[in-house]
């Protein structure tokens, strides 16, 4: 069983903090607490170690506070990494570090052309064999076409419509090949229709829980790891036989990320 358990990449939070503003969550007047950030990150790391296989940890780089959100490193598919090309220049230097780490692991790099932005697994999530991909605030839809072409897979592009949910993984979480959590108002009407037509069991989450990033969930088999205080979604998950692990990630929500953003499933 050990070899079937997924492997994740995380980045320790020593350099994490609110140093700039690139989404509506970040406020320089609301800094994160370094101590509490470390405690919360360690707690998440521990839960994942229990549920998953290996948890790799990449060394953080000073001056790159968001590198802790490894979901945005790229999109690993088999032995290939679609390396992210970040929209905001504040995050662009992260790619150099992620590239080096993945190359060392034997991944082949696929890079996007200069004017095509793509922010990795933060905007690309598999539901069965279909890749659901978000665009508008961070990733470009043209990146989806390039992935679909290269991988020969179906990519359904979903336009995001609320800046607070700037990455797809902040408002959409596949649970298995049939069901997914999603926050309908984060999508434009066409994307909503696409989700409803292609997901057998779409579970709409309430606004207050969407704003606690309940969709930014790490799903490992029947286990779902989320930030605390999302009782209604928890109930829906319980009813479907999932085990919900709540953990406090409030320090990271200040920067607009939660459990899923802090992790990247690499295999």
């Amino acid at each position: 069983m050990q070899q079937n358990r997924p492997e994740f990449l995380m980045c320790s939070p020593e350099h994490y903090g609110i140093r700039y503003v690139i989404n509506p969550w970040m406020k320089l007047s609301q800094p994160s607490d370094p101590q509490r950030s470390c405690t919360q990150w360690n707690a998440l790391h521990e839960i994942l170690q229990e549920l998953a296989g290996t948890i790799h940890v990449i060394a953080p780089a000073s001056g790159l506070p968001d590198m802790v959100f490894t979901a945005n490193a790229g999109l690993p598919l088999g032995e290939r990494l679609y390396l992210s090309r970040f929209r905001h220049e504040q995050r662009q230097p992260e790619s150099r570090h992620f590239r080096r780490w993945f190359e060392a692991q034997g991944f082949d790099m696929v890079e996007f052309p200069g004017d095509v932005y793509f922010e990795g697994a933060g905007d690309a999530l598999f539901l069965g064999s279909t890749l659901f991909a978000g665009y508008r605030y961070r990733s470009d839809i043209r990146a989806h076409t390039l992935i679909a072409e290269r991988q020969g897979i179906q990519v359904l592009s979903l336009e995001l419509a609320d800046r607070r949910f700037y990455h797809l993984d902040t408002c959409f979480a596949p649970l298995n090949s049939e069901s997914a959590l999603y926050y309908p108002k984060a999508f434009d009407p066409y994307a909503r229709q696409v989700i409803e037509a292609n997901v057998e069991d779409p579970i709409a989450v309430p606004a207050e829980e969407a704003l606690r990033f309940v969709c930014n969930a790490v799903v490992i088999g029947r286990d779902v790891v989320i930030h605390r205080d999302c009782p209604r979604t928890r109930k829906a998950l319980d009813a479907r036989g999932y085990t919900v692990h709540e953990t406090d990630l409030s320090e990271f929500i200040k920067a607009g990320g939660s459990a899923k953003c802090l992790t990247l499933q690499i295999r």
């Binding site: 839809i141 679909a148 020969g152 990519v155 696409v194």
Partner: protein
């Protein structure tokens, strides 16, 4: 109207990107035409659509393009126009661009040049020194002409429909005999007045039925009142018009009595002979031989006419241009400034002239036979509207509306 082509590819059907893009174009006030679409067969296959996006102005088009770019629409770079020299007179180089009757621009040395005299089925010749482009019919191509080849660097501007009045839109719907004629004729009269007001010329293309049905007098009135700037017809219209002027008959039938004249079957050849003896229509008028009729009025009012010959012509009259290529050239010379074309009771001349007209010329085709209008539109003159009715009823009503008095 300005337009640009964009390409959309990916899982654009399942992701609803294609309908979204089309909706966005419409919502912003633009229009689209899907030029080509390839739909993937399986879920994994991607689809591709080439869309021509158009808008009334450049600013709006740019706004639309910017908006749909977000959905992955990429502009198809039109590039620079490609030219090849004609190797012989009257022969076009391989792969030449065949023109439409729509306004067309070509990109030459980084600049868009408007192609003069839009006409369908012609070549586009670029004068590289003067940086000018014009349509040239195959027969007028000269060795060494620099002819546009391929589609690169060519953009066609669709006809603007938005300014059109509701009335004309009503006329544009399918040609049918089941429509209220009076309203349609009023609309046509309004269009003719509007063309004159804007300094445009009115072209009338007429068949001999105008004379046979007794509508010649109505047409004369329109000519006298300045509603005809140029007349195109065949030998027959002029012959029967002269026959009536000289013998009071058309095809041997007295137009005022409806009875056949004795020996009337020969009147039209006698009429032709009289004009030939006089040295032509103009000379016949000058000599006082021809004293009434459509052709007489044209000459008196200095309205130019082109009579194009055909294989079944009797005579023909000296003014008839029997070389068809020469006739085409003569007609083209008179098309400058024409804004409105009225085609009455002639199949061949309607289609022939329709082929020469740019799509921007409002065209109305009147015939008792609905298939004439259908044929005209099917052969590319999509701007044409049709009225299915008798020539005399039509012209009588039209001249009454435009000149304010009942004819004869």
């Amino acid at each position: 109207m300005v337009s640009e082509k964009v390409l959309l590819s990916g899982h654009i059907i399942d992701s609803l990107i294609l309908p979204k893009v089309l909706d966005e174009i419409m919502d912003l006030g633009g229009a689209f035409a899907i030029e080509e679409i390839h739909v993937g067969r399986t879920r994994r296959d991607m689809s591709r659509a080439c869309i021509e996006v158009s808008a009334p102005g450049r600013d709006l088009l740019d706004r639309i393009l910017e908006r749909i770019k977000r959905q992955g629409a990429v502009s198809v770079e039109p590039g620079e126009v490609k030219l090849a020299r004609a190797s012989r007179d009257g022969v076009l180089p391989e792969g030449f661009y065949s023109s439409t009757n729509l306004q067309t621009d070509v990109q030459f040395k980084g600049r868009w040049i408007r192609v003069r005299n839009p006409e369908m089925d012609c070549a586009v010749v670029v004068d590289t020194k003067a940086r000018r482009a014009r349509t040239v019919p195959m027969s007028d191509i000269r060795k060494g002409d620099r002819v546009v080849v391929g589609e690169a660097g060519v953009r066609v501007v669709p006809e603007k429909r938005t300014e059109e009045t509701d009335e004309f839109r009503f006329m544009r719907s399918r040609t049918s005999s089941e429509k209220p004629k009076e309203i349609m004729i009023h609309e046509i009269a309004a269009q003719m007045k509007s063309a004159k007001r804007h300094g445009g010329k009115i072209l009338v293309v007429g068949g001999p039925a105008i004379v046979h049905t007794g509508a010649g007098r109505c047409l004369e009135k329109l000519i006298r009142k300045g509603f005809v700037d140029v007349l195109f017809a065949g030998n027959a219209l002029a012959v029967h018009d002269v026959e009536y002027a000289l013998f009071e008959t058309s095809l041997g039938i007295y137009l005022d009595r409806g009875q056949s004249a004795e020996g009337g079957h020969g009147h039209h050849v006698r009429a032709i002979n009289a004009i030939r003896a006089a040295g032509g229509l103009r000379k016949a008028v000058a000599k006082g031989i021809l004293k009434k009729g459509v052709m007489y009025t044209c000459i008196q009012e200095k309205v130019p006419f082109v009579l194009a010959g055909s294989i079944r012509d009797d005579g023909p009259l000296p003014e008839v241009v029997t070389d068809v290529i020469e006739a085409q050239r003569a007609m083209r010379r008179h098309l400058k400034g024409v804004r409105f074309a009225l085609m009455v009771a002639t199949t061949l001349h309607s289609i022939a002239v329709g082929n020469l007209l740019p799509a921007s010329v409002r065209t109305v085709c009147v015939d008792i036979n609905p298939s004439v209008v259908t044929k005209l539109i099917d052969r590319g003159s999509f701007q044409a509207a049709g009225v299915v009715t008798d020539a005399e009823l039509f012209l009588r009503e039209l001249s009454h509306i435009l000149t304010g008095s009942r004819a004869g």
